[in-house]
Point group: C2
Chain length 285, copies 2
Amino acid sequence: MDSLTSPTPEISRTEALRRRYGATPPDDGPPSDGPWNETIASLLDHRSVRGFLADPLPAGTLETLIAAAQSAATSSNMQVWSAITVDDPATRKELASIAGNQKHIEQCPLYLCWIADLSRNERLGQAEQVELEALPWLETFMVACIDAALAAQNAVVAANALGLRTVYIGAMRNDPARVAALLGLPPRSFVVFGLCVGYADPEARNEVKPRLSQSTVLHRERYDATPERRDRALYDAELEKFSARNEMAATTWTRRVLNRMGPIASMNGRERLRATLARLGFEIR
Amino acid sequence: MDSLTSPTPEISRTEALRRRYGATPPDDGPPSDGPWNETIASLLDHRSVRGFLADPLPAGTLETLIAAAQSAATSSNMQVWSAITVDDPATRKELASIAGNQKHIEQCPLYLCWIADLSRNERLGQAEQVELEALPWLETFMVACIDAALAAQNAVVAANALGLRTVYIGAMRNDPARVAALLGLPPRSFVVFGLCVGYADPEARNEVKPRLSQSTVLHRERYDATPERRDRALYDAELEKFSARNEMAATTWTRRVLNRMGPIASMNGRERLRATLARLGFEIR
């Protein structure tokens, strides 16, 4: 029989918005009145978790996450993505090392790699003796990355709805060739990102992280950067308080952007991505 | 007061999996036993809808979708995406025309364009007089596309949970420069895809579309293409029946892949994406 599990805490729209945008968002923030239900509450409650219990997942969880992932839209139904689970401790250790020793990659009960996968359709073309002329273009590469992202996000939503927590691991792109070799990937496929899934360690601090105000990211009819400067000052203050509460180096969003995107050294070698992907069969014309 | 709405039809896990994978998936398909709740049911029930009623959305719906979108993970909290609503009928008409006259772009009550947006952080760098060295690289371009996709997918899930339906419009990429001009986008930003949102026209046929079997897309430890050929034959038969039921040209998945990715003409000009994006400020090194 189907088991019914609904672990989202009961939380009001007002409280969920306060957590997501901080205590002092601009006056033109989202209205406190509006549609609300358990799924929306679960979406707004998302936070990335980097500390997991060793508890295994209930039987059928992986397949449920993948069914959710496959239910996402995919461009022209081409389905140019795949997923791969990694259980072997030695492989996990190597992947964690590639990712700058992110221990949660070794500790989480489920580690899933999400693959932009043009190889499957290429094999289909080869079997049918038809050259797929669309393969080498930026457009098709982008579609594969986006297909993988839409699928993974559905899996994340499904995991949250089951009381699990997740964190994306973009650092698989620190060395995509090594990751591809470890997982035996064919040419024209690569791991876009990993995903840790498991039950959150209650000892690990993980508060909902405030985001930029809606007036900064949502535009109407035409792009309007006018509110940006006002909003950024408010957001800087909010993120500074968030960082202090969560024992991170207490710093503003402005400072984080400058640290993360200013020096090329902060890319951890990902400025070589294009060259590496070319070796993996992605021409990206 | 918060309004509570839960429109997902009650559907069993077994029935949801049957719709998603067809009546005759391979024996190694997802188990009928496993975790199940309303959110998972809503995810598996997804279908793209291209016929909408004129009914407007309840007050606060747009802001709820954006709050859900902003609750998705974003690489290093850089939040390199934006959204823009388009209401003006003349602009809608032009966007529909760019997309090969997809009438639902004109008819849906909410049309949202999702923007890969490096411009905001670039403005921040300029205001702080720091050059953002990470901007011109493929890695950073990809992150912007992925951030936009994760955000949009959360909005799609939220919309479905509110009884709304959606369809992504990848055809905004047929002419990203014209779309950017229509919406007044700054350099280093472009519309990755559009999204129609509204109530489904009950007259419009929209059945859950079966996907490739899990044995084709999900791998364990190492990539394994062995089940692919068997699975493809089953899926071809399934999609042929789906197409016949839905009054589409009854054809297999194999035929669709060859049609969609075989001739470059099927790209509708999107083979020029890289050159166009270079003009919009994306170097993609």
